[in-house]
């Protein structure tokens, strides 16, 4: 600040959109030092951006004084912006660390609110599912079967193909190593244990996230955007029950079907590699596998897969039902649902590993 009062910033003769950034930068730099007087005396050639700058500066009454506004400029200002209240004056920009802190804290709070909403939805879904099982009300008749058809019959080809390929890949990679130590036969133990307890549940979960979860999020978010969810509410229907419970029940029934098939083809892939890469007969493979795994391993994999399926449905449903009002948000919700579902699957898998092995 000047010792004799506010520093005076004269604006150039030409003040059009291209000249505004330099002028604005100079004014802001002056404001960081103290109050400023912005002199419009020289301004002769201007456009609407100069009027917007004038409007902004007039709102910054605490540290900016505007002087020498020509009659032409004043007339233009009153004609074009006379009825428009100035935008709130934000003051000089905050420094980078403060802005970063603001942004981080806002994001953290938004994330915490989202986590809270997710758990509220999860609690609601548990309640609504038991309520439907006991009272058989609030869900469209036949919807469970429609969803079951989509989740099982429409999903099994891709599930089988991918799990088979993963089985072959894992078997080939492992066979090369086991061969070095003369431990070829243990490929059966590795494939059996790995497939039943870990790979099949993970693969089924991830395929459900990509196929079923994305479809749920896209469908529900489209329904939200098209006001179909509001329509359900005003019909006295609880959307969280009407839309989610059939999907939760369907995934509970579809997952065992997918897991049994995926276990069979995944182990089948291992048997093929063992036969043609290591020369192990399928009967020897199965005999050795039975020494390493039992029915308990199958059920652990099945339990995990069912929990992954619930995570996919609740995670995708949450993304679909909390979408905004624009069509663009449908795509965003769909993408985020896949990310959320896969994250939940890996988190839950880790929790299972701690419970089972720690």
């Amino acid at each position: 600040m000047d010792e004799n009062g506010p520093s005076v910033i004269p604006l150039p003769r030409r003040l059009r959109a291209a000249d505004i950034p330099a002028a604005f930068k100079e004014i802001q730099a002056g404001r960081e030092e103290g109050p400023v007087t912005v002199d419009f005396r020289g301004v002769e050639d201007f456009d609407s951006s100069a009027l917007a700058l004038l409007s902004y500066l007039q709102a910054c009454t605490s540290d900016v004084r505007v002087v020498n506004i020509s009659e032409t400029l004043d007339h233009s200002f009153r004609t074009f912006l006379g009825g428009t209240p100035p935008a709130a004056c934000p003051g000089p920009d905050l420094d980078l660390p403060t802005r970063a802190l603001h942004s981080l804290s806002n994001r953290f709070l938004a994330q915490m609110r989202a986590v809270g909403k997710f758990f509220v939805l999860l609690g609601d879904e548990i309640y609504y599912t038991f309520s439907y099982i006991t009272k058989r009300k609030g869900v469209y008749p036949g919807e469970v079967w429609n969803q079951l058809f989509f989740m099982s019959y429409k999903s099994y080809p891709i599930t089988c193909l991918l799990v088979f390929l993963v089985g072959v890949t894992i078997a080939l990679t492992s066979a090369a190593q086991l061969k070095l130590y003369g431990a070829d036969i243990y490929l059966a133990d590795l494939i059996g244990y790995g497939m039943l307890r870990e790979l099949v549940p993970l693969m089924v979960g991830i395929i459900l996230a990509g196929k079923v979860g994305a479809s749920i999020a896209a469908e529900l978010s489209t329904m939200s955007v098209l006001e179909e969810v509001d329509a359900l509410k005003t019909m006295g229907v609880v959307p969280e029950k009407f839309l989610m419970v059939p999907r939760l029940l369907a995934v509970t029934l579809a997952v065992p079907f997918l897991v049994v098939l995926a276990d069979a083809v995944g182990i089948g892939g291992g048997i093929l590699v063992a036969r043609f890469s290591l020369g192990i007969a399928p009967s020897s493979f199965l005999r050795e596998m039975r020494t390493a795994v039992d029915l308990g391993d199958f059920f652990i994999g099945l339990e995990k897969s069912i929990v992954f399926g619930w995570a996919v449905v609740v995670g995708s449903g949450y993304k679909g039902l909390t979408v905004g009002r624009s069509a663009a948000e449908v795509g965003r919700a769909t993408t985020e649902s896949v990310v959320l579902s896969i994250s939940l699957i890996i988190l839950i898998d880790c929790i299972f590993a701690i419970i089972l092995y720690y």
Binding site: Y140, M223, L226, E227, E228, A231, K233, M235, G236, V237
Partner: protein, 249 residues
């Protein structure tokens, strides 16, 4: 007798206030038009009256009972007495038109015999002239047909009040006029109350018994259609004269 009463209503999203200090009554068996420029809060008001957006302050009374937006029982009582026609119909795309109209009955009256339900749906679809399209999916219907189908769904359980969000929006004048006639006929025949959000002046002149004019979230006029023409308010006059500014000289 008033079926809906609104007192000191403020509605907003976060810190942004859309509706400010509204107070009005809606008489039974009356068609009330809510009018105003785009973004003035018409649809927000409709959704608040329909129990979808809780107010920041103030009260909504339905059949003299205060609507408690935090109570599921209170909202359920409200939903049992209303039907809503949404801007784009909001028919469920995975159900046929017949199943869409049957849906409120199936959900709210699960014990309804299928034969009776069939008659109810048939009657409503006949009233909106869509009986031939009962087996079609919403994607196979035109915009006007979707709106009529949504109206059939909104009235299938004989609600006391039907809220309509821009029923004529996006429709050609002939279809729009047909829909107006339909609302009038339903009001007379079934003694229903309609609250219609619109900015179609021709439609307002034809169907409205009462008009609420909103501007920037405030209620500028609450009166009969005749009051609109005698209003001194510059905005009301310019709105109904279809002028771009508020100068009524």
């Amino acid at each position: 007798m008033d079926i809906i009463a609104v007192r000191n209503l403020n509605v907003g999203y976060g810190s942004f206030e859309v509706l400010k200090n509204l107070a009005f009554d809606i008489p039974a068996v009356c068609l009330t038009a809510v009018v105003g420029t785009s973004g003035c809060g018409k649809s927000t008001l409709l959704k608040t009256l329909a129990g979808l957006i809780p107010p920041l302050e103030g009260d909504v009374f339905f059949r003299s009972a205060r609507v408690d937006f935090q109570s599921e029982a209170s909202l359920a009582a409200l939903y049992r007495g209303i039907g809503v026609l949404y801007q784009d119909g909001a028919l469920l795309n995975n159900l046929t038109l017949y199943e869409n109209v049957a849906l409120p009955v199936r959900m709210q009256q699960p014990g309804m015999p299928e034969a009776v339900l069939r008659e109810m749906v048939h009657d409503r679809l006949s009233q909106v002239d869509l009986i031939e399209s009962a087996a079609k999916y919403p994607s196979e219907l035109s915009g006007g047909m979707r709106k009529r189908g949504a109206l059939a769904r909104a009235i299938v359980l004989d609600p006391a009040v039907v809220f309509c969000d821009e029923p004529s929006g996006g429709l050609d004048p002939v279809t729009s006029a047909h829909l107006d006639d339909l609302l009038l006929s339903l009001k007379e025949t079934f003694q229903m109350t309609f609250v219609v959000v619109t900015h179609e002046l021709r439609s307002i002149e034809k169907i409205a018994d009462k008009v609420l004019v909103l501007h920037e979230g405030r209620l500028l006029l609450d009166g009969a259609l005749a009051d609109v023409h005698t209003s001194d308010d510059p905005f009301v006059r310019t709105f109904f004269l279809r002028k771009a500014d508020h100068d009524d000289t």
